[in-house]
């Protein structure tokens, strides 16, 4: 899968409470969640979006709660991919399980600024900064995640397991 979009950049330790504050967790409606995405740290977030935007962030992105509402809110806001130096463990699982593309690539994060245009090849893990001309390669998914992705997501894998019983 190939993506292209403009960078919106954040720092380290972006936690799930700023991605989607708990006061909005009384709904599972993704559009509504998206309308509050990042608002405590970046009230202008939703007005910056141009569609297909790429979020770039520092270390430990998505730390905090297990709320799947966090990657869901990012995805529903139209962000096509999150590139971070590294992710918090639960967020990493959740993003893959719900189909929000994520990549770990410290160099690409260091080398980009707000508004840069990026082209991302998810299968190859290649990130190209079209503004600066630099190219980066991200660490590929481990084998078991590729299996999950190949079966169409975690719940597709569950369907198979349940049917096989």
């Amino acid at each position: 899968m190939k993506l292209r979009g403009q960078v919106i950049k954040y720092g380290d330790n972006i936690d799930t409470d700023v991605i989607i504050p708990a006061r909005y967790l009384n709904t599972t409606d993704e559009k509504e969640l998206a309308s509050h995405c990042m608002e405590d740290i970046d009230p202008a977030f939703s007005s910056k979006l141009r569609g297909g935007d790429i979020m770039a962030a520092g270390s430990n992105f998505g730390c905090g709660s297990s709320r799947e509402h966090a990657p869901a809110a990012i995805k529903a806001s139209g962000v096509s991919c999150v590139i971070a130096k590294d992710f918090a463990r639960i967020f990493y699982r959740n993003a893959i399980n719900i189909g929000l593309p994520i990549l770990e690539c410290p160099a690409a994060v260091e080398g980009c600024s707000d508004g840069d245009e990026l082209a991302v090849d998810l299968d190859g893990g290649i990130i190209e900064n079209l503004t600066t001309g630099a190219k980066y390669s991200a660490s590929p998914f481990p084998g078991f995640l590729q299996d999950i992705i190949a079966s169409g997501g975690l719940m597709k894998a569950a369907e198979k397991l349940v049917a096989g019983k």
């Binding site: 330790n13 708990a22 006061r23 599972t28 709660s65 799947e68 463990r89 719900i98 569950a158």
Partner: protein, 424 residues
Amino acid sequence: MAMTMTQRIIAAHCGESEVRAGQMVLADVDLVLANDITAPVSIKELERHGIGTVFDSGKIALVLDHFVPCKDIKAAQLCTEVRGFAKKHGIKHFFDVGEMGIEHALLPEKGLVGSGDLVVGADSHTCTYGALGAFSTGMGSTDIAFAMATGKTWLKVPAACRFTLRNKPARWVGGKDVILHIIGMISVSGARYMSMEFDGDGLEHLSMDDRFTIANMAIEAGAKNGIFETDALTVQYEKGRREKTVPCSIDPGAVYEKTYEIDLSKLRPVISKPHQPDNTCYADEAGDIPIDQVVIGSCTNGRLGDLAVAAGILRGRKVHPRARTIIIPATQRIYLEALKAGYIETFIEAGCAVSTPTCGPCLGGYMGILAKGERAVSTTNRNFVGRMGHPGSEVYLAGPAVAAASAIEGRIVSPEQLTGGAIE
């Protein structure tokens, strides 16, 4: 091969004689947990994929605790979905108003989790049960839907760091001070993806409530789980609750990426300043910080031992007029025991509000939301921006002793700094 405690439990649940860090496994789970916020998302996933059965209606726990008794119409709708699902599938361990409690206090109390178990929950503080020598970890709702359907979960076997606790902590130092100290030392990502494993002679001076508090906040150091060696206290706790205690201890020669030795006798009560749990200092070095609210409760510090500490300090005293003090026993049973022990009377006479069990203010849900510019001392586990209300409010994390002493003074103090001197 020598394994960590976590690795040994994972190996036992995936039919391997050994597993090593970094290995991917499909493991069997003993219990799957979800709550009023996360279960509806799991239920939606199951429905969307046409999965109409669960793997075992006796091995799923559903606890309505975050916004319950329901704070608004939307929360009420979510609870209705969970109730309907519980009924349809005959979920045995379903806890609603009247018998519910905060999930991570409730499940151990009911004996539903214990030593040797592998537990997954759609809540990040599922790591609490490691206090009993279980491997338990938080996941998202889709992972939990998968576990509900199949009784299995994917795991990457974690590497580990070891915390050897030594000696007896001083008078006002409890589990919260130990874990805040550790997080301050290693940072909010210091144990990322790893298990935090606790052993040492200091354990014998830590009550089970202290251990729950410590394991509870492993996630705040980025860990996958926290786990304690089992001992006589574990056996005593599990007696009458579980058939047997499965011994859990560190293999000689097990590989740890990092090892730390902590002299508990050297610690003083710790607080964590906004807006990250690793922003710690000793409570008596906080400076003059006036507060508007105190919360004593949550899955971190809402247990009987915590309430006993707070009651001991508040007995015969009044909370400061500026410091609204909210006390939330974590389960119905804890509430009842606190009532019988006279703690509730003490709290009310001191001018505190006492609530039925709920997560409430811990996640900024309800029952004590902060306005812009307000500041709280809270025994909960997260002080992120906006966690207890307005993004311009502040949360200082502390144990029950500091929280109670601060409630009396209306500013952050350690119990030794109380006006009129120390308490007996």
